[in-house]
């Protein structure tokens, strides 16, 4: 049995599944239920400064998009940071940590962007015995209008400055939570790194409007006929999150910096994918908010079975395993030639591969052979784009097959070179040509 224990920047938990700072971690009642269900840790919902707490809207806070049968694919929210009193939260955090010493309890914080505010709150959090803090530089709605959350996260200089203060005023590990609402995620990550952060966590939610009510013309969720952009999360954001995690993991300046992966993690498989791209652990919110805390059982057993099957003895052996395989487009092997292959025995003749290719791609799939409905790839037209694989409703019916080096590519009429070659050396690349004489 693989060891699922996790040690993330010195914060230990029995497994790498944490609940993200969000409604499920707003109070002891929920967090205790989560720990009973088996969650390895929580990031307590964001605390604000001392004083009257923020208020939330009293109408709908969530919007959603659904797949078939109302399967929740994406959720957005306009909830703010905790609207409970700071000292109530601190007391509960202290009690929970005392009762659950083996679980990770990290506290999310968001206070105004000045040194005094941060200096004031850090000792209060430290006093609870919490394992670490997470700086909420991500929240894209409401708080950002007040100069906090993503308003800080979008300015790398602010990120670095606040991280520096935190490292100065607390001994607790600092995790900097990044907003994806930015052009280049590496910039704030580098800033956090420069400020001395112990780790980054990402992604926070994405600015979004989930829907418009076509009767009232109000954005959803609708508050008295009006709406605002909320933070988008859930399975739909996972690809965006994976890329951002990978960008930081492979960046020369931030390589090796611990990452807590967040964004649509719903199953053990999602979690392993984040880890393979460099995340040391994962944080979950939407999946728990959709199905309840019990899903962690599936995540734990799924991860355990996967590690056993692959012969890995611990979670750490997976972390970053896919990072070396993430590269820039220019380094992809242009001599890797593939053709689609349609398994006629599995084919159910829906014709989607044909029409997708015919209408929108390369006219490389038949729909009729000898007067019979039949879908076969024309190698002389197929560029190996994979669209047919993606639109085929039958698993493994269409696969991509590599044309080995030395064999003929019917499309180009040339034999496939059996060596690696990429754009940087391609004759069509003006940059490559310019470089050649110098070499």
């Amino acid at each position: 049995m693989a060891d699922l224990r996790s040690n993330f920047v010195g914060i230990k938990s029995p497994n790498p599944f944490w609940l993200a700072s969000a409604p499920p971690t707003d109070k002891a009642y929920n967090v205790v239920r989560a720990f009973k269900a088996g969650w390895g840790g929580v990031v307590w919902k964001t605390l604000g400064e001392e004083g009257p707490p923020v208020v939330n809207v009293n109408g709908p806070r969530y919007g959603a998009i659904w797949g078939a049968d109302r399967r929740l694919l994406g959720l957005n929210n306009i909830e703010l940071i905790t609207d409970r009193d700071l000292f109530v939260n601190l007391a509960e955090i202290k009690q929970v940590k005392r009762d659950w010493p083996d679980r990770a309890v990290v506290v999310s914080i968001m206070v105004p962007c000045d040194e005094e505010s941060w200096k004031a709150i850090l000792p209060l959090v430290e006093e609870t015995g919490a394992d670490g803090i997470e700086l909420n530089f991500g929240c894209p709605h409401g708080m950002s209008e007040r100069g906090m959350g993503s308003a800080v996260g979008q300015v790398p200089e602010y990120v670095e400055m606040v991280v520096r203060w935190c490292k100065q005023y607390t001994r607790m590990p600092v995790i900097t939570k990044l907003t994806p609402n930015i052009a280049d995620i590496r910039k704030p990550a580098r800033a956090a790194h420069a400020g001395g952060t112990d780790a980054v966590s990402l992604i926070n939610t994405i600015n979004s409007i989930t829907a418009v009510n076509l009767d009232t013309f109000s954005p959803e969720p609708s508050i008295d006929g009006r709406g605002t952009h909320g933070g988008y999360c859930g399975p739909a954001v996972k690809p965006i999150a994976l890329n951002m995690v990978a960008e930081i993991a492979r960046d020369a300046q931030t390589r090796g910096m611990p990452i807590s992966g967040i964004g649509g993690v719903t199953t053990w498989r999602d979690a392993v994918e984040f880890m393979a791209l460099g995340a040391g652990n994962v944080q979950v919110c939407t999946a728990a908010m959709t199905y309840g805390f019990k899903i962690v059982e599936e995540m734990i057993t799924g991860l355990s079975n996967y590690l056993d099957e692959k012969g890995f003895s611990s979670v750490d052996e997976v972390v970053g395993r896919a990072v070396p395989n993430v590269t820039d487009w220019q380094y992809l092997n242009l001599n890797y030639v593939t053709k689609a292959r349609i398994n006629q025995e599995l084919c159910i003749s829906c014709g989607r591969c044909h029409i997708a290719c015919e209408d929108t791609s390369h006219q490389a799939i038949t729909n009729m052979i000898d007067g019979k409905r039949m879908f076969v790839v024309k190698d002389e037209e197929c560029v190996g784009c994979n669209l047919c694989v993606n639109v085929c409703p039958v698993e493994d019916c269409i696969t991509m097959e590599q044309i080995p080096g030395g064999m003929m590519d019917e499309r180009t009429g040339h034999r496939v070179p059996d060596h690696y070659a990429n754009w940087t050396t391609h004759p069509n690349n003006p940059m490559a040509k310019a470089k050649e004489p110098a070499e």
Partner: protein, 453 residues
């Protein structure tokens, strides 16, 4: 259990009053909006979809299903009605398991096709309930067309002709329009008087007059119609019932007559049915009869078919429906004599059969089943006598009217379609609709001087 359940002989009121409504409610509950969208989402929106090819009226099935999936049932209904103005009834009565749903790629993939029939019903129900009319009549042409028979073929033909701006008069021998939809479909497939609602929906386009109680050969003649109208479309059904050729045949009842009576009955508890019922036949009518006998409270209902299961015209789905209703289906039994005593049916004597060199033959062994009622459902025939009688005769083929690819008969100005014609189409409601629609287009071309006139 109701008191009447075990009354001997033929008796009405075998069931408790509320049991009738339950037994004869919709065979399939209509989809709710959410159910319809979930089911619609299963459709793969196939290219050159096999379901569409399998549909005799060539409805753009992937498109209407996608319109349901996107919460556009009214648009969906128009896609259906464009090809099949009786799409509402076809959704209920089509043997989809041997048409569109058999061709569905999900049937190939997982043995569970998209429920196309139920989706079609959902969309058409929405449009009909909202009274949405999609078609406007073209400018009046001044042309008048007579349609004989207000069944699926006649109604489809009349609607398309009215669309083109012609004036249509439909003549029907029965009291009500609708044909088999009104008189022949099993009651649990067309509940809440849907057949009449559909007739109203179809004729709401305008320009269609229906004259009921007018039978060809009795009240009207082709010769007269040809003189009075610019064109004639014949869309009659099958008026004759095949003979058992067994002793005591006169004691047996016609399933189609009983089904018609059942469909018209206002109070099913007043409709007498035998305690033990035998139905002779192997097609849809046999199943409709047997299942309804069971639903009326018959204790023992047996279908006897002279060949094996694989030869039955009733689809496997219909056979299962019968079995689920508690009907016993027995094969390789041919009727020899309907047994009576004091003028009442007491049973039926049958002989076992087998195939000898491909020919059906009796084995000599016989069996007697006690029965209070024997129904024959062994096929219907076209009664041609009413057709001719004045002027030139219409050519026939295999006992039905010969037509060409456009539905033209041998008589100029006379078209025909549906059960009364000899063509490759099956005797299905949906095939009759296609024939009526296509003949209307041919008539329009002929009258308006189109290329194929």
């Amino acid at each position: 259990m109701a008191q009447g359940q075990f009354l001997t002989g033929i008796a009405a009121g075998r069931l408790a009053a509320d049991q009738y409504a339950e037994n004869f409610s919709d065979l399939h509950e209509p989809f709710s909006g959410h159910e319809a969208r979930v089911e619609a989402d299963r459709c793969y929106f196939c290219y050159d979809a096999p379901c569409m090819t399998a549909c005799p009226t060539a409805i753009d099935i992937p498109m209407f299903i996608r319109q349901i999936a996107t919460d556009n049932p009214v648009g969906s209904a128009k896609t259906i009605f464009d090809q099949n103005i009786l799409g509402g009834m076809c959704a209920r009565v089509c043997p989809t398991e041997t048409l569109c749903e058999e061709a569905c790629v999900r049937e190939a993939a997982e043995g569970k096709p998209v429920q196309i029939g139920r989706l079609q019903r959902y969309a058409t129900d929405v449009a009909i309930a909202e009274g949405v009319q999609f078609y406007e009549r073209a400018a009046p042409t001044g042309k008048r067309i007579a349609v004989v028979g207000a069944g699926p073929a006649g109604l489809a033909c009349a609607h398309r002709l009215a669309m083109h701006g012609h004036e249509v008069t439909i003549f029907d021998a029965r009291e009500k329009a609708g044909g088999l939809n009104e008189y022949g479909i099993a009651a649990y497939k067309s509940t809440q008087d849907f057949a009449q609602a559909e007739v109203d929906y179809v004729t709401a386009i305008g320009g269609i007059t229906i004259e009921t109680g007018k039978a060809l050969g009795r009240d009207i003649s082709i010769g007269q119609l040809s003189e009075d109208f610019d064109a004639v479309f014949l869309g009659m059904g099958l008026g004759g019932v095949n003979a058992l050729r067994s002793e005591g045949e006169t004691a047996a009842s016609n399933a189609v007559d009983y089904i018609a009576e059942l469909r018209q009955a206002r109070d099913l508890s007043a409709l007498p049915i035998g305690r033990r019922v035998v139905v002779i036949g192997g097609g849809m009518t046999a199943v409709d009869m047997a299942v309804q006998a069971k639903l009326l409270g018959a204790e023992e209902v047996t279908i006897c078919y002279r060949r094996g299961k694989e030869y039955m015209n009733a689809s496997l789905y219909e056979q299962d429906l019968a079995a689920a209703a508690g009907v016993a289906i027995r094969h390789w039994l041919s009727p020899k004599a309907v047994l009576t005593a004091d003028g009442k049916v007491t049973g039926i004597e049958l002989e076992y059969t087998r195939l000898e060199n491909g020919v059906l033959a009796g084995t000599g062994e016989s069996l007697t089943l006690p029965a209070d009622q024997v129904f024959k459902a062994i096929g219907q025939t076209f009664l041609a006598a009413a057709l001719n009688g004045s002027g030139a005769a219409i050519e026939m083929e295999g006992g039905r009217i010969r037509v060409d690819g456009e539905g033209r008969t041998s008589m100029p100005g006379v078209w025909a379609g549906g059960d009364c014609v000899a063509d490759a189409r099956e005797d299905l409601t949906v095939a009759a609709v296609a024939a009526g629609r296509d003949a209307a287009e041919s008539i329009n071309r002929a009258l308006m001087g189109g290329a194929n006139g």
